[in-house]
């Protein structure tokens, strides 16, 4: 039995615009560097291209999903507990896709668009990639259809998940009540996710629930003493939407072209930053180097303290 569910996007867009204006009023008073007009327009245009690219691919993805329904294991209803299960299962798949998007270069080439702003505000939540791989986000949710969740429910829940994530891209909201911070993805958790501070790299992938990060060991709380710096490890530094969309694809293709044959596939599937000659670093290598640097700095300061103590004695 199919039911008619409301179109969440039609309700969300006016709310997004009002909230963005409200956040700009906050930024004008408390944090003028949270927004930049050029960055805003680039993010909005990227969001718009992604939205229309999504519409373009929606028909094809719907056809694939409808076909997949023939192979579903169960025939689940619209009962409340099915909704609850669908929300949890969808968010788990979001976590998995998001994590893979940071760890596999050809998926990162698409997802990098979302991280390429050095600012962090609600508009960044709309900054998405129009490249084809993004459309495959729905394909990643095929297991939900194969399990037997109704297709309309799956589409509704995916849309709701995306809309939820909008508010997590805010610098204005500092901390939520403890139980919310424990279970849900909040702006504080997501600021860590967008940060390039070595300690924060590749952390907090959760969409709606932060529980997945706590379970799978990718959680890191925000530290007030270490404010996040946003963007990419190698900042893009351009306000050009074509550069934003294609720079990583171009870099990946150039790497594949230049690499010896046995390394070519690694430039597609290895983590971003991987390089066969060791001239670049992955986020794991950056973290390792940073930990070494911190250890040496700690040892040095201990030695200095010891010398000071000896002198004063």
């Amino acid at each position: 039995m199919a039911i008619n569910l409301p179109d969440l996007v039609s309700f969300a867009i006016p709310a997004f615009i009002i909230l963005i204006c409200a956040e700009m009023i906050w930024a004008q008073r408390y944090s003028k560097s949270s927004y930049h007009p050029d960055d805003l327009i680039v993010s909005m245009l990227l969001g718009m291209t992604a939205f229309f690219a999504g519409l373009f691919f929606a028909g094809k993805v719907h056809s694939i999903s409808s076909f997949a329904m023939y192979f579903r294991l169960l025939n689940l209803s619209y009962a409340w507990w099915v909704w609850a299960l669908c929300i949890i299962a969808d968010d788990f798949l979001h976590y998995a896709l998001h994590r893979v998007s940071h760890r596999v270069r050809f998926l990162w080439a698409s997802h990098v668009v979302h991280h390429s702003s050095q600012h962090f505000n609600l508009v960044v939540g709309l900054r998405q990639s129009a490249s084809i791989v993004f459309a495959s986000a729905l394909i990643f949710r095929l297991p939900l259809v194969l399990i037997g969740f109704p297709l309309e429910m799956v589409v509704f829940v995916i849309t709701g998940n995306q809309i939820y994530q909008f508010w997590t891209h805010s610098d204005a909201v500092r901390q939520c009540p403890r139980w919310i911070e424990f279970a849900f993805c909040t702006p504080s958790h997501h600021r860590v996710h967008h940060a390039v501070n070595p300690e924060y790299l590749d952390r907090n992938y959760g969409g709606v629930f932060i529980i997945w990060d706590r379970i799978f060991g990718t959680f890191h709380p925000e530290d007030d003493e270490n404010p996040p710096r946003y963007g990419l490890v190698q900042q893009l530094g351009r306000f050009n939407i074509l550069v934003c969309i294609f720079h990583e694809w171009a870099a990946m293709l150039a790497d594949i072209w230049r690499a010896p044959w046995r390394y070519k596939s690694a430039y597609i599937f290895a983590p971003p930053g991987w390089c066969h000659d060791g001239s670049r670093e992955t986020s794991d290598q950056i973290k390792e180097r940073w930990q070494g640097y911190q250890r040496r700095a700690g040892q040095k300061s201990q030695a200095m303290e010891k010398i000071d103590d000896e002198r004063s004695a």
Partner: protein
């Protein structure tokens, strides 16, 4: 509502918000005030970069930080933040009392010119030594 109407409304909304951000004076960034400030920005932009000395552009919008032998960080303003790039001395085309010009693929023109009020002789000597 047709797709074309939606596009028109979205474009108008984007222009409205852009105008809103401009009128509110958003995107403010403090200039680089001195060498210590530049060293701090370089260390934040390139994790583990240990700057020893720096020269700041007259505008306060860019700087060059020396981190060791043939290891420099070039800082430039981008939006309300700074972009830091690691460069080596071989990219320096011209280096005199108050100007440094160097090649950089990251820039649309392919090169950057930094204007300084004064570059010390020690700095110039180090840059020349690194280049060789």
């Amino acid at each position: 509502m047709t797709t074309s109407t939606k596009i028109v409304i979205l474009v108008l909304a984007i222009l409205f918000m852009y105008n809103f951000a401009r009128r509110f004076g958003l995107g403010h960034v403090s200039p680089i005030v001195n060498a210590d400030d530049a060293i701090r920005i370089a260390a934040e932009g390139l994790s583990g970069f240990d700057g020893t000395e720096a020269i700041v552009d007259r505008s306060g919008g860019s700087a060059l930080v020396r981190g060791g032998v043939d290891n420099y960080a070039y800082i430039r303003r981008h939006g309300a933040h700074y972009v830091v790039r690691q460069i080596c001395a071989t990219t320096i085309i011209q280096c005199d009392d108050n100007r440094i010009v160097f090649r950089h693929q990251d820039l649309p023109s392919g090169a950057a010119t930094l204007e300084f009020s004064h570059i010390t002789e020690t700095w110039l000597a180090q840059a020349a030594a690194d280049k060789n």
